[in-house]
């Protein structure tokens, strides 16, 4: 084949690919199409809740399975001034605020959190990108902590407000939310230790959420404040989390 003809064919191929790609992109950006595609999320949540026992545990692994190369994603070194001051003081002045729809708002130091009913678990962390790492986590169980604060009857979701501004700029603060089924799951903990050492900064020091039956982005790092709400429409972009506001599913069980 002559180079001229080959060049022409290549050009035609590239043009076809371009047309095809832009047609697919237009379909993808159509709000109606997005709404239809999103309808499957509710189906997935209901189907998983149907076949899954509320208390069914995520698999726990042996110490030998712990990943030496546990990857850190999202924020790995928050630059919020208040956070930096806390970090400089070894989080000695850190206090976790628990408020919202609770009878008795709490403010707990790390020492007080360590006195809470605790759990240690070696579990697999699944990033939405597709990779997995195994780590050992120790932390205060969220269920007893919420009971201590006392949930009001209209409480439905637990929101975690974080120190990191992953988006950069206003509205970029990380936050997450889970419902009460996951909040009261026995493996749902506020971890202050990873692999038998204080939680490293890159993995969310001083406190991160572990919600083992969902993907990594639900496991909020740098948790500063817990807010119990009836509805999260008024928080952030209204979708229930930093990544949810950017198009990811609120229920990340798959």
């Amino acid at each position: 084949m002559s180079t001229h003809r080959r060049g022409w064919l290549k050009g035609a191929g590239a043009a076809m690919a371009g047309l095809w790609a832009s047609a697919c992109d237009r379909l993808n950006e159509n709000p109606g199409v997005t709404r239809v595609l999103e309808s499957a999320e509710g189906l997935t949540l209901r189907a998983q809740r149907l076949v899954m026992d509320r208390k069914a545990l995520a698999r726990e692994f042996a110490p030998a399975d712990i990943s030496a190369d546990f990857r850190a994603n999202g924020s790995i070194d928050p630059d919020d001034p208040e956070y930096l001051a806390q970090k400089a003081g070894g989080f000695a002045g850190y206090r976790l605020a628990v408020g919202g729809l609770v009878e008795r708002p709490l403010s707990l130091s790390l020492a007080e959190l360590r006195d809470q009913p605790a759990r240690t678990q070696i579990t697999r962390h699944d990033c939405v990108e597709g990779w997995s790492s195994i780590g050992k986590w120790t932390g205060a169980r969220l269920g007893p902590l919420l009971d201590r604060a006392g949930l009001k009857p209209n409480a439905r979701y637990v929101v975690f407000h974080c120190a990191d501004n992953l988006g950069g700029g206003p509205g970029g603060r990380y936050y997450e939310s889970i419902d009460l089924i996951d909040a009261y799951h026995p493996q749902t903990i506020l971890a202050y230790e990873m692999n038998d050492a204080p939680l490293p900064v890159r993995h969310g020091a001083p406190l991160r959420l572990r919600v083992e039956r969902q993907l990594g982005y639900k496991h909020a790092k740098y948790v500063m404040r817990i807010e119990v709400v009836e509805d999260f429409a008024h928080i952030g972009g209204g979708q229930g989390g930093f990544w949810e506001d950017r198009g990811y599913a609120w229920y990340a069980g798959i």
């Binding site: 993808n28 950006e29 899954m52 069914a56 698999r59 997995s132």
Partner: protein
């Protein structure tokens, strides 16, 4: 084109309404599952075995590397390294290349957008799974699987299988009475795809779900862990693509219009042997 048979040819009913409907829904669902699946793969273009990722040692990776000659797309398979610039890893025509493992024309959307890819994938996964259940239910109840797909004893004799392979290699296809039923290679490949590969896609897909893992903890051990399930998911997708390529080639080689019509209207023309000169 009219459905009126030409002299010497006879139209038979080949595909039931259930087979035809589920076939085309499957075409749509598998096409979008593949494109959105490649989008999801692009978010972490490396595969591992076992429960966790061994980041330094994937068995397959498709990545961009900065070299002395500028960026290159490098695909690694085991210890082997291939420069796949333009096609995989650093994709697109020269001057308009992107850091994407699979190129934009193969993914939906064409640019990197994991959130959208996941939306497409899970919507069409539901459609695909429900469609597959309908197909299997009709196939079992209506006898399609037993009657049309299970090979007969005669078809399974080594001599017969060898002759079919030789005939296919020379693109000689059955005529007349023999064309009314699937040949043994067709039966074998359709059975493997419909009852092994496609169900495996659903099972390995579910095994990547941390929620499903908690609900059915033993299933993931079939694949040696979540990363193993992800690898098998990718390999089976590749085998399905391979099947589709061969399937389309055979559709064209054995009478494109007749085959396509039979999958749309159900009617398939067979030559009457006595009418041949």
């Amino acid at each position: 084109m009219a459905d009126k048979p030409r002299p010497g040819r006879m139209l038979i009913r080949r595909h039931s309404l259930a087979t035809r409907t589920t076939h085309w829904i499957n075409v749509l669902a598998l096409g979008l599952l593949l494109m959105s699946g490649l989008q999801i793969f692009n978010a972490h273009p490396a595969l591992y075995w076992g429960h966790a990722s061994t980041f330094a040692d994937p068995w397959l990776s498709i990545r961009l590397y900065e070299t002395a000659d500028g960026p290159r797309g490098i695909t690694t398979l085991g210890q082997a390294r291939f420069d796949t610039t333009g096609v995989l890893g650093w994709t697109g025509v020269e001057g308009d290349r992107r850091n994407q493992a699979f190129p934009g024309w193969a993914t939906i959307p064409s640019y990197r957008d994991l959130a959208s890819g996941r939306r497409w994938h899970f919507f069409f996964a539901w459609l695909f799974a429900i469609n597959g259940l309908v197909y299997v239910a009709f196939g079992l109840l209506g006898g399609h699987i037993r009657r049309d797909l299970l090979p007969t004893r005669a078809q399974l004799s080594p001599r017969h299988v060898l002759r079919e392979i030789a005939d296919h290699a020379r693109l000689r296809f059955p005529k007349g009475e023999a064309a009314r039923t699937y040949n043994v290679l067709q039966k074998g490949s359709y059975l493997v795809v419909a009852l092994v590969l496609l169900p495996l896609m659903v099972v390995t897909g579910l095994c990547m779900s941390p929620g499903f893992n908690a609900a059915v903890p033993w299933l993931i051990d079939l694949f040696g862990g979540r990363q193993g399930a992800r690898s098998v998911h990718f390999i089976c997708a590749g085998l399905i693509v391979l099947f589709v390529v061969v399937h389309l080639a055979m559709v064209v080689a054995s009478g494109a219009w007749n085959n396509i019509r039979s999958m749309i209207t159900g009617r398939y023309a067979v030559e009457l042997p006595e009418a041949r000169p």
